[in-house]
């Protein structure tokens, strides 16, 4: 496995359940250690868990733990561990996500707690932000808010990796897509590269003379992928891309890595 992530990128880590997304994030965060090979995050080796490294990263796990206090109290005792923590931003995000700043976590739903944790993670302004299935437990309006918050707090010096199997949640949010299959990274490409190589379409009519690489049914009708042989531009449909990849991993790996 070979993977290089660059500052300023919002990476979508996609894969089926059990593909190894969480394991990869844990390896990068120093929560698990590689059996072989090496991982470097900036100047740090994650498995050493240097304090400098730990204050540069924030990991939002699929299962989260928040003590039964309030967001205000959490900010008071947890934020000092993160030197770049932005208090004003935290309050703004908490408000946007409709979480009560003075409300007890014990009285909040799992989704509310998760939103508070996401707001806190972004406000820490760490160099690396890793989120494992962050939209699990969020309702549909909150998923939209999540996307808007990640986009609006973009930082060109930060690497953000969001792992999910709910591909649609990352639509129009990420600028790089990494697909993991059987613990192997199949490709790590920018959305522009995907758009240069593939055309995505919807509807029952596939353009004449075109041989689709993938045709799938969706809630909004048929969706398909074509080779982009005449430099056209189309919006990348992540769900269709992911389904296309699942249907023929070799073909899509070859095209996107080529």
């Amino acid at each position: 496995m070979n993977l290089t992530l660059l500052p300023g990128g919002i990476y979508g880590l996609l894969g089926k359940n059990g593909a190894g997304k969480t394991t990869l994030l844990k390896l990068i965060c120093g929560l698990s250690f590689p059996d072989e090979g090496s991982i470097k995050v900036g100047e740090y080796i994650p498995s050493k868990r240097d304090v400098g490294f730990l204050s540069d990263i924030f990991f939002v796990g699929e299962e989260i733990y928040i003590a039964e206090r309030t967001p205000k109290e959490m900010e008071k005792y947890l934020a000092p561990f993160y030197p770049s923590f932005d208090s004003a931003l935290f309050r703004e995000l908490i408000k946007k996500l409709e979480v009560d700043y003075n409300g007890k976590f014990s009285q909040l739903s799992y989704g509310q707690k998760k939103k508070a944790m996401i707001a806190f993670a972004i406000s820490c302004k760490t160099k690396y932000l890793f989120m494992d299935e962050p939209t699990n437990g969020l309702d549909i309006p909150s998923k939209a808010l999540f996307r808007s918050i990640i986009a609006s707090t973009y930082d060109e010096n930060r690497i953000t990796v969001i792992s999910t199997h709910q591909v649609r949640d990352l639509q129009s949010l990420i600028d790089n897509v990494i697909i993991l299959n059987d613990s192997q990274i199949q490709f790590n490409v920018s959305m522009d590269q995907v758009s240069e190589k593939l055309i995505f379409g919807h509807g029952s009519l596939i353009p004449e003379g075109e041989e689709p690489l993938y045709v799938g049914g969706g809630e909004l009708g048929k969706s398909y992928i074509l080779r982009n042989s005449n430099n056209s531009h189309s919006q990348v449909d992540l769900e269709t891309l992911f389904n296309g990849f699942i249907s023929d991993p070799e073909l899509f790996t070859q095209i996107l890595n080529g």
Binding site: K26, C29, G30, L31, S32, F33, R49, D50, V51, G52, L54, S55, I57, F58, F59, G61, E63, I64, Y65, A67, E68, R69, E73, K76, Y77, L78, P80, F81, Y82
Partner: protein, 266 residues
């Protein structure tokens, strides 16, 4: 940035731990007062041995409860993740446990336990409570408390910590099971060991009738009329060896916990 230890980070850890577990801390403080009332209602015995043994037992039980509740994040997966990625060193995290379970808990427990007992004894016009604590097994109060209560407490705490860091599931249960087995094992061993050291007149006390405590320097011999005789071993090495073994073991367990925490994987 000092990656091994920083007082600033340690202070933040102490502050965070207290804030996240304030309720548990307060419940534990209340629990420290309850033994005096419980003893008054259920165990109206008044003698030095009983008082010291009761103190040790309640210190171990309430201390065990406090530790398992106050440091829950060491035992659950989602909580362990937040513990590991928290920007503080493994040494600071281990010292945090030592700080709360020993430096904070033991003095508070001692003051509240003895204080509440003193008040209860006063209210019910019993003997002056502190006269019961003047001497224990030939030692004055402070060394007796340190030797017979605090040292075993620290030893057991170090075992609980090591198991919490080492194991992935049922850490507390396994740690307490291990401690129970250890105590049974040591007691059985002591029975035979003491048997070989103690003489009552020209005869040996019956092993089955001995109640042996840990660390082993004394034993009781109970005759058929249920009258107890305190037996003190004449071997001067037993106590120092017990203290050294417990201290070194506890230290080793804390050091092992530090290394285990550094390499703990989720």
């Amino acid at each position: 940035m000092n990656s091994l230890f920083s007082f600033k980070r340690f202070r933040l850890l102490v502050y965070k731990q207290y804030n996240e577990n304030r309720k548990i801390f307060l419940i534990s403080v209340i629990l420290m007062i309850l033994p005096a009332i419980f003893k008054r209602i259920s165990l109206p015995i008044q003698n030095q041995d009983f008082e010291f043994n009761a103190f040790t037992t309640f210190l171990l039980v309430i201390g065990g409860m406090f530790t398992t509740m106050f440091f829950k994040e060491w035992s659950y997966k989602s909580r362990s993740v937040s513990l590991i990625v928290l920007p503080a060193s493994a040494l600071e995290k281990i010292l945090l446990v030592l700080f709360y379970t020993v430096v904070v808990f033991v003095p508070i427990f001692t003051i509240l336990y003895f204080g509440s007992n003193f008040v209860i004894f006063k209210i019910f016009k019993q003997v002056n409570y502190f006269t019961l604590l003047e001497q224990y097994r030939g030692l004055s109060t402070t060394p007796a408390i340190l030797l017979y209560a605090v040292l075993p407490y620290i030893f057991f705490q170090s075992i609980v910590l090591l198991f919490s860091v080492w194991l992935k599931k049922s850490q507390t249960l396994i740690a307490f099971g291990f401690i129970a087995l250890l105590m049974i094992g040591v007691t059985i061993w002591n029975s035979y060991f003491i048997h070989s050291l103690i003489r009552v007149g020209d005869s040996l006390p019956s092993v089955s009738k001995q109640l042996v405590f840990f660390p082993v320097d004394v034993s009781y011999w109970e005759n058929e009329s249920k009258i107890r005789t305190l037996l003190i071993t004449r071997n001067n090495l037993i106590m120092p060896i017990s203290v050294i073994v417990l201290t070194i073991s506890a230290l080793l367990f804390y050091v092992a916990s530090y290394f285990k925490l550094r390499e703990k994987e989720i």
